[in-house]
Symmetry: C2
Subunit: 180 residues, 2 copies
């Protein structure tokens, strides 16, 4: 129980922040649920804000890896992005996109958390653009931005509706877009 304090902090914080929001989760709760001592926390992180940015960093890497893997599993076509989203929307713990939630909650665009969230989105755009290039879709740059707009709209809608339907709705729109 005395090793990996940092990893446990990151894991517990990620779960709690995602489920309840960043402001809603105090350091107290993260410590008690992770079993990490208070001093150990401040030995690993300068403060709560540093923990938040570290969580967002890890989330960015892991989420893009997951998305790439699932799209590839479905066949690798850009439209399969929405099949991956549908899978995600159906999971029990789904509560939207960490980056979107962070930007709407923290408000200050200059804060490290918001900067990290914005960076995540640009990286996702790059990922989508590469998928579009691989599929020989014309104007992949602009198309990628359109696709991410659709994905974000689907995420917000799925959070509100509590069903994966929004993924299929967004997929239908994307199909119309590619056919045009």
């Amino acid at each position: 129980m005395a090793v990996n304090a940092r990893a446990r902090l990151l894991s517990t914080a990620e779960t709690l922040f995602y489920a309840h929001g960043i402001r809603a989760v105090g350091v107290e709760r993260i410590l008690s649920e992770s079993g990490v001592g208070r001093a150990s926390f401040y030995r690993h992180f300068a403060g709560k804000e540093a923990l938040v940015t570290a969580v967002l960093e890890g989330r960015d890497v892991r989420w893009r890896a997951w998305l790439s893997e699932r799209v590839a599993a479905h066949g690798g076509h850009p439209l399969h992005l929405f099949d991956a989203l549908a899978e995600r929307f159906a999971t029990q713990d789904f509560r939207g996109c960490v980056a979107i939630n962070t930007m709407t909650e923290i408000a200050d665009p200059a804060s490290p958390a918001c900067r990290m969230a914005a960076l995540h989105k640009t990286r996702v755009i790059d990922l989508v653009e590469q998928l579009l290039r691989d599929a020989d879709v014309p104007e992949p740059g602009e198309r990628a931005r359109q696709f991410v707009l659709l994905m974000d709209g689907a995420i917000v809608t799925a959070l509100r509706e509590g069903t994966p339907d929004a993924a299929w709705r967004a997929r239908g729109i994307a199909e119309a877009l590619l056919a045009a």
Copy 2:
């Protein structure tokens, strides 16, 4: 200074909640910035949560009225929804959609605030559906849900980018959708 305490509370709270988030704004700040006494606040509202739902109610009514008016001013076609959004995105105080921000921040779907936010979105869908009917667009029900997904995607994107570009991007997608 001793009249309209309720109205001043609602106005101040709406501004602060929208700019900084609900959790980030304490009752203390609302009182000092509105000039309303603490006792007066709890005479008008059962608590902070009641104030939040009242603010969301007012916002819902006012925002739909504003949207209808702006769409009509642009010509009344459903595509003009995105012209209205572009106007909104360009305003200085734009910080996304109150309903989306509330749902991502409060997390609990059963809370009065989230219920009110969800209700707002369904009312917006109804508004969009009526616009589509008036324009003789086929399948207005499903189209309305697609349009609102596009609008929500545009709102989230505009919040991230800080420019009105997302409105034009969403408009382009909507045009492709109507042409298909």
